[in-house]
């Protein structure tokens, strides 16, 4: 017995730690998916001048439990003639990437599952799998509405990945590292050190943040960029044929993606676990600041959904190809120029 204990607490500790983190991440994502749905419904209610769910439990706190039980109890039907393997694979493919992305994200100074040196690369490469999963789900459903939705998802997500990556490259030039924990550590010392306010390196940094936020909305297929599941046109889009927990998994994955996207935005631009005022930092307050910033962004995402109508499909693509990509290319060049400016000036004078 003590040999096992010795091993677990000694050489085997990294594996134990990883396992604990994975369990924690799954619990975090699960709880978020459940209660973000409630937050969204109540937020939507307040924006629409009605109370939102308030029947189950006190002020509706048991509503996600009720929803979960309902979804579990429904029959999961696989439409006849559809591709069974792809149909069952799509929910898995859409749920796994957010869970993996959360491994690299630092919640506190020492609270990161794996301090990966290429954390940024990991997050963005996994983010693209979302597209493939929706496309598979739509194609495998053998339903015209789902196929149209899959086609739209692919074109929309491909279009919006480009400005997002250009913006991230701009940020990489500023930070010089892909390690997410180091990026957060560079932003210490008060909110004026946060990346979003570093205008002496890139004068358009706040614009860069806004572009990143818009691209994150589009990548997670949230309104006003929800052409994929435009309810009033395509019934439920790529999810039309999924019932019961299959639909539940897609739903959870959407909120998991939002959580990951907002976490990444917090880490990259808003200082991660750093406190905006220098005091009140440390191993206890760090995660609290992180969660506060992340949930502020999530609430903004929810707020935007219930305020604007849906953009036109080609308007959405026009926005990306004709407006966001030129702006992000321009900021990239500008940042490069601004970073090399002292050197140039030194050589000139």
């Amino acid at each position: 017995m003590s040999a096992i204990q010795n091993y677990l607490l000694g050489p085997g500790w990294p594996w134990v730690r990883l396992l604990l983190y994975l369990v924690g991440i799954c619990a975090f994502v699960g709880a978020n998916a459940a209660y973000l749905v409630l937050a969204e419904r109540k937020g939507a209610g307040r924006i629409q001048r009605r109370p939102g769910p308030n029947e189950s439990g006190y002020a509706g706190w048991l509503q996600p439990v009720a929803d979960g039980i309902k979804l579990l109890a429904k029959q999961v039907m696989i439409p006849p003639g559809s591709d069974r393997l792809l149909f069952c694979l799509a929910p898995l493919m859409v749920m796994a990437p957010p869970l993996i992305c959360l491994i690299a994200i630092p919640y506190g100074e020492n609270l990161v599952a794996r301090n990966i040196n290429v954390g940024l690369l990991l997050v963005f490469s996994l983010g693209s799998i979302n597209v493939m999963a929706l496309m598979l789900g739509g194609w495998a459903s053998r339903n015209k509405y789902a196929v149209i939705s899959a086609a739209r998802v692919v074109s929309q997500n491909v279009a919006y990945e480009i400005p997002m990556l250009l913006v991230v490259i701009t940020l990489l030039m500023v930070t010089g590292t892909m390690n997410l924990n180091e990026i957060v550590q560079q932003q210490g010392g008060g909110f004026w050190h946060w990346n979003v306010f570093k205008v002496w390196v890139n004068p358009l940094m706040p614009v860069t943040f806004v572009i990143f936020f818009i691209c994150m909305l589009a990548e997670t297929n949230r309104a006003p960029f929800d052409m994929a599941e435009a309810e009033s046109e395509l019934v439920a889009g790529a999810f039309t044929e999924y019932g019961g927990m299959g639909f539940g998994v897609f739903f959870m994955a959407e909120y998991a993606n939002i959580v990951v996207g907002c976490s990444v935005a917090t880490v990259l631009f808003l200082g991660g676990w750093q406190s905006p005022i220098v005091i009140l930092s440390g191993p206890v307050f760090g995660p609290l600041w992180f969660l506060a910033k992340m949930y502020a962004l999530v609430l903004t995402v929810i707020w935007v959904r219930w305020t604007f109508p849906r953009t036109q499909f080609y308007g959405l693509l026009n926005l990306s190809w004709k407006i966001l990509i030129p702006i992000s290319l321009f900021t990239l060049l500008l940042t490069g120029a601004m970073m090399k400016l002292p050197l140039v000036l030194h050589h000139l004078f």
């Binding site: 939507a44 924006i47 629409q48 001048r49 009605r50 015209k144 509405y145 149209i148 309104a223 006003p224 929800d226 435009a230 309810e231 009033s232 046109e233 019934v235 219930w306 305020t307 604007f308 109508p309 849906r310 953009t311 036109q312 499909f313 080609y314 308007g315 026009n318």
Partner: protein, 379 residues
Amino acid sequence: MIAQPEAFPTGESGRAPQETFVLNLGPQHPAAHGVLRVLMTMDGEWITKAEPVIGYIHRMHEKMGENRTWAQFLPNTSRIDYLSAMHYTHAFVGVVERAAKIEVPPRAEYVRVITSELNRISSHLVWWGALLLDLGGFTPILYAFEDREKILDLLEGLCGARLTYCYYRFGGLYNDVDDDFLNGTRKFVQEMRPRLGMYRDLVTDNIILRKRLTGIGPISAEMCRKYGATGPVIRGSGVAYDVRTIEPYSVYQQFDFKIPVYQECDSMARYLVRMDEMEQSLRIIEQALDRLPAGPFMGKVPRVLKVPPGDYCYAVEAARGRFMVRIVSEGKDTPYRIKLRTPSFSNLSLYEEASRGMILPDALAMMGSLDLVIPDIDR
């Protein structure tokens, strides 16, 4: 002058027919505004042919008219288009009064105008909320319904029904208005004006909505005339046709109101026509409240109503367009034939030609801008 959507082709795509597929916007669909089925032959996202299939809520009101007495048909009139029920009852009551030469006292006429215009506002509020719901804006419909609740409460206090009113009778009204209704209506008019301003600032001026509707679904004035489309559809195409001014009925000639007309022929023009109409309806209600004459609310009607033989018609400007009732009477106490000319039927008939070559979301936005109520089409 028709605005074009920017940078996206709307012509025929030139591909072979066997590469098209049929998408069934079935009777159960969140955007179908009721039980309307549209068979769309599509080439990718473009529509090559959109054929509406109607009849899913056909109740044969015209046959019911032949089996009932004149007064027994009154409740039917509310159910043809339940969103603007007052106008439809007005038309039927009007045609019988015209045929039987029944005099309606001025007080009743003014109250009919007030209730009709209130009904027009509530119908347009539903249209507005539903259009924005189609376009993905989930919030305005709840604000619109909040305003509509006030109208429904007023009318419920007046005649006991919230949706399918049966308030008018041959020769006047069911009962007189009381002070509660008059004061409540005045208060409502004062509260509604700032709300319309808020809707203009937050929704009409929203860039996303403007991009969704401007230049979408052009319908020329010539097409409107050939298909018989009336109401905001023809007024958004530059023709100032409103039954209240062209073929005046009731006491509308005594009021000072404008007919909003826009020249652009697109969905945004139809949208703006209806928003302006709500404003003008508030004006009419205010003038009618100020000038409401005292007197009886019911004229002299013979105990047994006999309509002289012959055929007669009466047209009103319902919320959706021109609604006309044509009756053929043989002098008996039941009609020989009742024909209901409903506006949504003619407005939808141009959809097949107008939506050719459009992309699916645009076609749905255009259908929303036509303001269809399917029971109105099917009767």
